[in-house]
């Protein structure tokens, strides 16, 4: 597909990397030549320097032949204008705009219709939603839902002396007393898709798939805390902080929001409901954290503008025995640095936003048999994809034990109508079923049939 990406910043670059790997024709627009040069040097893409909202520049980027325009510059208004201009030049084009200003937040749906945008992404809001989910369901590091929230994939870290340590996967069902599937294990940075003989060890990050009921049951059996968070401390009052505080306050959670900038504090105090406690101060000061009661809160979310600061604050929080710590990482690529530190859950808004866009692109590329949703687990080393079986799908109605899949692919879950189950060798799928596949990252599975040998 021919795709134009306007704005070669953090998100633009990550998108370039992901979409170029899937073989799309990419044209980047940015106002800085040096940024473009570094992109064209790394990826097989074309760079055009200029203002992406100007017709002349869009024409140079061959907007009339393009299928999709993704506007992810730093300014909402430019993104909007860029999409509108492109639409004017080429009415059939699909447009995705990044809109981040909370002031536009309430009119997103109207805007989408009025400016005929295909998708509006808001990385901060997405990140806030993700963090909220993590706070509401503590005990695991990451959580994703599929098949209209009926299936979940969660990440658990095996603590020392836990009941799952040294358990062979065949015996897993006996230990947790319900049907769950381990779809990936990350051990000291390397991720594998295990078979029945795999033995879990202390320190492993384990990714479980299960239906929502079974998962709750399993967590209870394992003695993982499912206590509701009552007090949450947020360091950094940026956009994510704002969205998160608003959402948590709506759920009657007590929120303390620490922000360094006095003017921003006033703004936050004005915009947020009264229950949120906005504190003007430097979150890196130990005295302030202690006086605001860091050791009494149930969750600490660090999301200042600096990744390094966030990491250090999270480590301190862990040290103060805060039950749940969530770290926002903006600039750094998710890497083994995070793994080697005990940072709790790591959330990367850029990554979340890119995944949503990539999901949209895949859906657009092949409306027949394409992946409905895509989730990255274990830093993208493993992907979970949801497909809907249709007439073209092979092996309909055949027991799974007779189907030969490619290496490192696992069928994690089959949903038929309202019935969701973890498959066994006798299971099969019919037309219209939604099937979740777990595969090693970067395998480029575009259609359901790609998973078969």
């Amino acid at each position: 597909m021919k795709i134009i990406i306007a704005g070669d910043g953090k998100v633009g670059l990550t998108l370039t990397q992901k979409l170029a790997a899937e073989g799309h024709d990419l044209t980047l627009i940015d106002s800085k030549q040096s940024v473009l040069d570094s992109s064209t040097e790394r990826y097989d893409v074309m760079g055009i320097q200029g203002n992406c909202a100007s017709m002349e520049v869009l024409n140079r980027a061959k907007v009339k032949n393009a299928d999709l325009l993704i506007a992810v510059t730093s300014t909402d208004e430019i993104n909007l204008l860029c999409c509108m201009t492109a639409h004017g030049l080429h009415p059939e084009i699909n447009t995705i705009a990044r809109i981040r200003n909370p002031e536009y937040g309430k009119q997103i749906f109207t805007m989408r219709e009025v400016y005929s945008l295909s998708l509006i992404v808001n990385p901060e809001k997405q990140a806030a939603r993700e963090i909220e989910r993590l706070i509401k369901f503590p005990g695991f590091l990451q959580r994703d839902t599929f098949a209209k929230s009926r299936v979940e994939i969660v990440e658990l870290r095996l603590e020392k002396g836990g009941r799952l340590c040294d358990v062979r996967l065949m015996d897993l069902e006996r230990v947790v007393k319900c049907k769950v599937l381990v779809c990936a294990v990350s051990r000291s940075g390397s991720v594998s898709i295990p078979d029945g003989n795999f033995i879990l060890r202390e320190g492993d990050h384990v990714f479980f798939t299960a239906t929502s009921e079974n998962l709750t049951f399993m967590l209870q059996n394992l003695g993982v805390i499912t206590r509701r968070a009552k007090r949450v401390m947020i360091c950094g009052g940026g956009r994510i902080g704002y969205y998160l505080a608003e959402r948590l306050a709506r759920d009657k959670v007590q929120v303390q929001l620490i922000e360094q900038n006095g003017d921003r504090c006033e703004e936050l105090a004005e915009e947020l409901p009264e229950e949120v406690c906005v504190i003007h101060g430097d979150a890196s000061s130990q005295f302030l954290l202690e006086s605001e009661g860091i050791d009494e809160c149930d969750a600490l979310v660090t999301m200042t503008g600096m990744d390094e600061m966030n990491m250090i604050l999270s480590l301190y929080g862990k040290n103060c025995k805060v039950p749940q710590v969530i770290t926002k990482v903006g600039h750094l690529e998710k890497s083994s640095i995070h793994d080697s530190l005990d940072l709790g859950s790591v959330v990367c808004p850029k990554e979340l936003c890119c995944n949503e866009i990539v999901r949209y692109v895949r859906a657009m590329q092949n409306t027949q048999g394409a992946a409905v949703t895509l989730h990255n687990i274990a830093d993208g080393q493993v992907e979970a994809l949801e497909f809907v079986a249709d007439d073209q799908t092979r092996h309909l109605g055949m027991p799974l034990r007779d189907i030969r899949l490619k290496k490192n692919i696992l069928i994690a879950c089959i949903t038929h109508g309202s019935d969701t189950r973890i498959p066994t060798g006798d299971s099969f799928y019919r037309r219209g079923d939604s099937v979740i596949i777990v595969a090693r990252g970067g395998m480029k599975l575009l259609t359901f049939n790609d998973i078969f040998e």
Partner: protein, 490 residues
Amino acid sequence: MNYKMMGKFLSQILMMEVIFMLPALFISIFDGEEPAIMGFVTAIAVTSLVSLLLYFVCRKSENRFYAREGFVCVGVSWIAISLFGCLPFLLSGEIEKPVDALFEMVSGFTTTGASILTDVEALSRGMLYWRSFSHWLGGMGVLVFLLALAPNREAGSGFTMHLLRAESPGPNVGKLVPKMRTTARILYLIYIFLTLLDFVFLLCGGMPVFDAVCTAFGTAGTGGFGIKNDSIAGYSPYIQNVCTVFMLLFGMNFSCYYLLLLKQVKAVWKDEELRLYAVIVLGSILLIVWNIHGYYGTLGETVRHAAFQVASVVTTTGFATTDFDLWPNFSKILLLMLMFVGACAGSTAGGLKVGRVLLLFKNLKRNIRRLLNPRRVEVVRVNGAKTSEEVLRNTNTYLAAYVLIMMISVLLVSVDELSIPTNISAVISCFNNIGPGVDMVGPTANYSVFSGFSKMVLIFDMLAGRLEIFPILILFSRSTWRNAKFSRKI
């Protein structure tokens, strides 16, 4: 440095060369020339063996590839294809000395067309074909060809930009479309189409098929190897005119053809480089016609010879229809100057390129104006768009390296005690990939007068000229190899 990846690349290039040697082998078999058959068979065997060995050793390579690897890869690949490409000449015994065979092959791939053969017609047809074909392949670029064929996975990373930049001449190389593979394919399709067109036109003029194929290859790559001792002079005026037109066409920037395909005629019409190119060509023809009137019988003949020689030199082809060494000095100097200028960027020609000359002049104009108004801020524009200071800086650096290499080469070559015009014009001619010079290397003479050492210097010049200096120069820089261990760790 990622040696394994480079080795894999090299093995692919050698395999490609083997495939291209096959038609030449078939021609030799058809003619029943036994030495030539032996030469090609042995060369093919040796080359494929080396290629397979390289592939076997390097098949498990990492995919890390940066600017340094890109440059080194281009330089090494060109040296390798020249070394293996000259094997048929050597093994068949048709050219005896190794230096001579290498000179002939490098001259072929770099589209120079300078020959050490005193009697071209003595070569077998298989060898003549291989010589001319090397022009065609070298014209658009060996690596670009590989990129057009490579699976997207390999062509689809950013480093391929370095390969294109190193092989495709000009100050400001860019892709036509977002994907490198598609760009390479478009370039080669245009190239193949134009070559076929040239071939058909030549056939219409009653040229024998084999001659037409070789001449079309020589014209397309702006190479200039003739298959007759008197180059093109023996053919009819019609054929000479066809050659003139096609040489000029192959000297145009290929992105112009792409724009024409997209029906953007206005952009091509307004292209400043193309306009300057046209002005230079027409102006030179007029001046030479005025200068040499009376040398030939009719005005028509005068114009034909003047136009042919100008086209041949400005596009750095090097065909000849007449001995311009006998022309008055003004015309000779004018032709020598055209050798420097060369044709458009992004064409198959050598030389400085009209685009660079345009930038140098505009920059010069700006600097003079700045002397008058020291606080004046001005940008250099080409086709209405601003040229970045980096491109200007690179152009200046290029000119400096260009002049330096030329001077050192002239000094080294003059050890042979030949006349000054011979030395200077030989270096200019080789460095700009033209072929003939003046005096003892004039259109009717050849390079056999030089010693082995001078030939090596000229071989270096031809390669440096074709690859625009830096990919070759970089091979001799210590820092290219020094940090090899360090960079692998990163």
